[in-house]
Amino acid sequence: MKEIFAIIRNERAEPTKDAIDSLGVKGVTFINVIGRGRQGGTIRTPDPDGTLRREVGIHLLHQRGLIDNPEDPRHHVPVEKEFELGFIPKKMLIIVADDDYVPMIVQTIIQINRSGHQGDGRIFVCPIIDAIRIRTGERGCKALQ
């Protein structure tokens, strides 16, 4: 038995739930958490306002005859802006599953949640020793079915 912790974006929680349901895995726990990754909660994005400011600046320089061609791509380098976000709200899924199901569940979560941008989240797979269904007292893999 393994315990799968998946930390995902809030808006991907519903699609992930549906996908996991269609695999036949019914038991999922959702927790609202806040977290941050290796970047320490900072993201770098293109700054459209910065580009605009730079373009206005280029035209002023052109008017004053300091640069020849304002259309020169060398003057239009996209500006990056760094945001300090701190801890970001995320959803944490906890799924306990039989060893055979784990690769399938992991692949499904990756497929649904992968956008290729920072902040997609992470999956951790941890070993679990025992599981007990409180209603009947069943133990081990029987408790998961």
Binding site: K2, F5, A6, I7, I8, I31, N32, V33, I34, G35, R36, G37, R38, Q39, G40, G41, F87, K90, M92, V106, I109, I110, N113, R114, S115, G116, H117, Q118, G119, D120, G121, R122, I123, F124, V125, C126, P127
Partner: protein, 111 residues
């Protein structure tokens, strides 16, 4: 890889996070939990508080950094300790468990 779960006082969270940052550990997940220890909550006059609010930090780290991180959390989360006395009841606990696999969702790669 190991998963560290630290249950600490909400008011010492910021101090613990800053101490971890100083040691180059930024990635973590936080959640608010309630719980009690072996003292079964606290009693104030005739009122019994059976559960106290705490903050849980979850940090996954490579094996060689784990012992350092545990010491850093331990020292930062301990309140009012001096050379001759320990901290206070309710400072929290740290649990360390194994992690078999870890995946980054951005790339889908195993790490």
């Amino acid at each position: 890889m190991k998963l560290i779960r630290a249950i600490i006082r909400p008011e010492s969270t910021q101090r613990v996070i800053e101490a971890l940052e100083e040691n180059g550990i930024y990635a973590m997940t936080r959640m608010s939990v309630t719980g009690r220890g072996k003292e079964m909550g606290i009693t104030q006059g005739t009122v019994r508080y059976s559960e106290m609010p705490k903050e849980m930090l979850m940090i996954v780290l490579p094996d060689d950094v784990v012992s350092k991180a545990v010491i850093v959390i331990e020292i930062a989360a301990r309140t009012g300790a001096t050379k001759f006395s320990t901290g206070n009841v309710g400072d929290g606990k740290i649990f360390v468990t194994d992690v078999d696999e870890s995946y980054a969702l951005r790339t889908g790669e195993k790490q």
